[in-house]
Amino acid sequence: MTWRTATFVVWAVLAAGVAATQVAAIASTGRWPTLAGLARAATSHPVARGAVLLGWMWLGWHAFAR
């Protein structure tokens, strides 16, 4: 197995982990927060919300313009 293949495998496992966390959160019916709850909590403070929006702007510039 090459390093490239191994890295893709790890990324796939991590993606599955995030998806499993989300599924478990939905199944817990409120006991654990979902991704949406995480976004709500992370942007509930104006300063944090500004930081998240700046991150969104950077992501768009990084991914599509540069």
Binding site: L14, G17, A41, L59
Partner: protein, 139 residues
């Protein structure tokens, strides 16, 4: 139980995001066209912020007719699973970034570049990014 309906503003935003994503699908990085597409998305986000401020606590993609249970926002043990999941992702992204060559250790950006290589992939990725911005601003 929450009843939801599509607002005119949300419909206009959906149309604008679709049109901009189609246009962005045909741009390439490091071009003026790509810069303009991203800047137009920024302008749309700013417009949504202003409109929301004028209208008060109005909804995002849908209008909420009853309060949505958000659950406690205090950080505590219930957030540990997300902290672990996203922390590991961030650590692996950093490790991949610091290791070389990029072809052997692809980062999230490198994988996104592969998606961006096709018009459809680039348009879809742009739409996902724009929708995320809309969600963050108007939820």
């Amino acid at each position: 139980m929450t009843t939801r309906r599509l607002t005119p503003g949300a419909a206009a935003a959906a149309l604008a995001i679709t049109a901009l994503s189609v246009a962005a699908a045909f741009t390439r990085p490091f071009t003026l066209a790509a810069d303009v597409a991203v800047t137009l998305a920024y302008a749309g986000l700013a417009a949504a912020l202003v409109a929301q401020r004028r209208a008060g606590p109005v909804p995002g993609v849908v209008a909420r007719r009853s309060p949505v249970a958000g659950g406690p926002r205090r950080f505590g043990r219930r957030w540990l699973a997300w902290a672990a999941s996203l922390g590991i992702v961030a650590a692996f992204e950093l490790a991949s970034y610091l290791q070389g060559p990029r072809a052997a250790h692809p980062t999230l950006s490198a994988m996104l570049d592969s998606l961006d290589a096709t018009h459809a992939g680039r348009g879809a990725a742009f739409a996902a990014w724009a929708l995320l911005g809309w969600y963050l601003v108007t939820r």
